[in-house]
């Protein structure tokens, strides 16, 4: 007979059994028994964040950079509610995550006890599943089930709320060897008949187009996507979360579609006669006005989540399955073809419009954010082995547009929820997942201040993260909308910020403020030459817009571009 364990010890051992190496968390009353047990398990690294939201985003960053389940831990009440934003973020972007929260002891539940919050109730619509555990005997099994649900099928966040009494009780643990979930059976293999129909359509189409999304990344279907494109000559558009699924230096790569996508991509979508959506969910930032989206196309939609099919856009050939399996099945029978004339047509549209690094330079002595990203992409390619976590706003769109994304999982961003404050804590998780790579956090002057306290975590953990702040003195993306759609009424968007270099220095992190174009390249080189974390602040031209753009709610046929010759 094995020895008895406390519930808290069972929690730790269950995490080890699930292969957890690191968790991000913050202690407090209800979770204290867990923290009491933790030092007995040195194989479990715990990173103390400075705000639970950051624990959640760091777990996401870890998961997004490694493909493993990210783990975050918080106490009951305010600790748990502080996790909510990150959980919602993980839900929107299908990030495998397990959030563990302490709960008041079972006899206090429902009594409005100190720091009691109904966190399973609160997180119900933003988790893939959640649990309230009040009995020590359930801990081992529930944690096994939680990890299973988080990482299989369409991944997502699972919250496990564990009452304090269950953590302090003792029992002889019984370790389940399998989960038993009668109502959860993700479908991994696509339907044969639909696959054959897709093959037939690929053979017949004159203007076929691939739309590759996060599903490709989650399934690891990079080689299959490439083979599909190369065997058929079909060009590939990658969504914001599909960035890196297909190398942008490939002749068939077209870049991003949608609200800030390239004109030629939105035009291609509107002209194509076959749209192969591989693991993207037809987000409104991609489709624009849905009734006018891809009007001439037969649509094949591959998704592991059946509820995505037909949710936003009508689908002709639905294929529910893991996109890697589906692509393999397609490739088994797919004859070669080419689409050279169609690709030439799309390239001709591309050539009529401003190229990636071009822009209208305003008549000031400030430098442009584009200059920063041009230098940045050069340096990333020179140095290799990088991850870039971006925040939300204009800089996020420029990063997506202007960096040459070449490898999977290198671009890490908050897509579906668009959470400002994501980049810095996500970079912590990514750095721990990929200790040998250079991890960048790129944020605006607004977003960086939403989790700037994490500079302390970075310092305490010795994480060599490189931080780039694109400081335009505004909540830039909102200012852009005000300029274009709200009569330039800059309501609550001009923003004073502290001296970021001094802030960094206060945390023991060196900082460089870049105010001239001539210093950009040097600043990046210095960042690479410095061991440990560095903060770069780029004071760029303040009122620059991200183009091209589709106005919110408009058809993707109607693009606003800055070039007079680029009227679409």
């Amino acid at each position: 007979m094995s020895e008895t364990r406390s519930g808290a010890q069972i929690m730790c051992e269950a995490l080890i059994r699930e292969g957890v190496e690191v968790m991000f968390g913050y202690p407090g009353g209800a979770i204290m028994p867990f923290y009491h047990a933790l030092p007995e398990y040195p194989e479990l690294r715990h990173v103390l964040v400075r705000h639970e939201q950051a624990a959640g985003h760091a777990a996401e960053g870890y998961a997004r950079a490694s493909g493993k389940v990210g783990v975050c831990v918080a106490t009951s009440g305010p600790g748990a509610t502080n996790l909510v934003t990150a959980i919602a973020d993980a839900m929107m972007d299908s990030v495998p995550m397990v959030a563990i929260t302490g709960q008041v002891a079972a006899q206090f539940i429902g009594k409005d006890a100190f720091q009691e919050t109904d966190v399973t109730g609160i997180t119900q619509p933003i988790t893939k599943h959640n649990y309230l555990v009040t009995n020590i005997e359930d801990i081992a099994y529930v944690l096994k089930e939680a990890f299973h649900i988080a990482r299989t099928g369409r991944p997502g966040p699972v919250l496990v709320d564990i009452a304090k009494n269950a953590m302090v009780a003792r029992t002889t643990p019984r370790w389940p060897d399998k989960v038993n979930l009668a109502g959860y059976k993700p479908n991994y293999e696509g339907n044969r008949r639909q696959i054959r129909e897709a093959i037939r359509l690929i053979g017949e189409a004159k203007k076929p187009l691939i739309l590759a999304g996060r599903g490709i990344q989650l399934a690891g279907a990079f080689a299959e996507l490439r083979e599909l494109a190369e065997r058929t000559g079909i060009p590939v558009i990658t969504t914001l979360l599909g960035i890196g699924a297909f190398p942008e230096n490939h002749p068939l790569a077209l870049g991003m579609p949608g609200m800030h996508g390239w004109v030629h991509n939105n035009r291609a979508i509107q002209e194509c006669d076959l749209l192969l959506n591989l693991g993207s969910r037809f987000d409104d930032r991609v489709t624009g006005k849905t009734s006018t989206f891809a009007p001439h196309a037969k649509i094949v939609h591959v998704d592991i989540d059946p509820s995505e099919i037909g949710k936003n856009i009508r689908v002709d050939v639905p294929i529910v399955g893991d996109v890697q399996n589906v692509l393999r099945a397609i490739l088994e029978e797919l004859p070669a073809r080419d689409a050279a004339e169609w690709v030439r047509h799309i390239h001709a549209i591309r050539d009529q419009h401003l190229q990636r690094q071009q822009y209208t330079r305003p008549d000031t002595d400030m430098f442009m954010p584009h200059d920063v990203f041009a230098a940045f992409t050069r340096i990333l390619n020179e140095r290799g082995a990088y991850r870039v976590c971006t925040d939300v706003g204009q800089h996020q769109m420029w990063a997506a547009q202007l960096i040459d994304w070449l490898r999977p999982h290198t671009h890490i961003t908050s897509g579906g929820l668009g959470t400002m404050g994501f980049a810095l804590p996500a970079a912590m998780g990514a750095q721990i997942a990929q200790p040998n790579e250079t991890v960048w956090a790129v944020a605006g002057d607004g977003g960086i201040q939403m989790n700037i306290q994490e500079l302390a975590t970075i310092r305490q953990e010795g994480l060599p993260i490189k931080i780039a702040i694109i400081n335009n003195g505004y909540l830039g993306m909102v200012r852009q909308w005000q300029e274009l759609f709200h009569e330039r009424r800059y309501s609550a968007t001009p923003m004073w910020s502290p001296d970021f270099v001094k802030v960094a220095e206060a945390y023991g992190i060196p900082g460089i403020c870049v105010t001239h174009q001539s210093q950009v390249e040097d600043a990046f080189n210095t960042a690479y030459a410095t061991d440990g974390p560095v903060l770069l602040e780029f004071q760029v031209e303040r009122e620059v817009n991200v183009y091209p753009m589709v106005a919110p709610g408009a058809s993707i046929s109607e693009m606003i571009t800055e070039s007079p010759m680029a009227v679409v």
Binding site: T120, Q124, P125, H129, L132, I149, N180, G183, S307, G310
Partner: protein
């Protein structure tokens, strides 16, 4: 058109809340929803009525399947089925109108389950159209209080939604 869905789900605390919160969050318009135990311990059965003119039945089904505890969802609208709803009505019934009410109840095979000095309580279990008719005919008498269950339904013939198939093996 009204669709009747039958859903089997694990009988966990909170599962009803998950389902109703899902309907609210997705903006689904649900006409009625009724839930109770099945022949198999641990499994509940829910009958859901959706009007497909404003809510996509396919999306309701697919979203229900995303809930881990939901085992099986079937649209039984097109299957020959028995659908029932129960209504209890407390109706104004001075002695002068009792005979009339009682013969109306007879026609509908409704029961008089309580008698007070100026009211009767009527109970009817029938298919939803019949329940609707009955209520309309009783209304002129003066309805004081009314309670209806949602619809429950079962497909005719050799059973197709037995919960037994979903019992956990472990």
């Amino acid at each position: 058109m009204k669709h009747t869905l039958v859903a089997l789900m694990e009988d966990h605390p909170g599962v009803l809340n998950r389902v109703s919160s899902l309907f609210r969050r997705r903006g689904f318009n649900i006409e009625s929803m009724s839930v109770g135990h099945t022949e198999t311990p641990g499994i509940s059965r829910m009958t859901i009525v959706v009007d497909s003119s404003d809510t996509s039945v396919e999306q309701v089904t697919k979203q229900l399947y995303r809930l881990i505890e939901v085992l099986k969802v079937s649209d039984v609208t097109a299957d020959p089925n028995v659908a029932r709803e129960l209504v209890m009505i407390k109706v104004h019934a001075p002695s002068s109108r009792r005979a009339e009410l009682s013969s109306l109840a007879d026609v509908f095979e409704a029961k008089i389950v309580d008698v007070a000095h100026d009211s009767l309580m009527l109970e009817l279990s029938a298919n939803p159209d019949k329940v609707e008719n009955f209520i309309e005919l009783v209304r002129p008498f003066g309805i004081r209080e009314m309670v209806r269950t949602g619809r429950v339904a079962m497909v005719r013939g050799s059973n197709s939604h037995a919960a037994e198939a979903y019992v956990k093996t472990a």
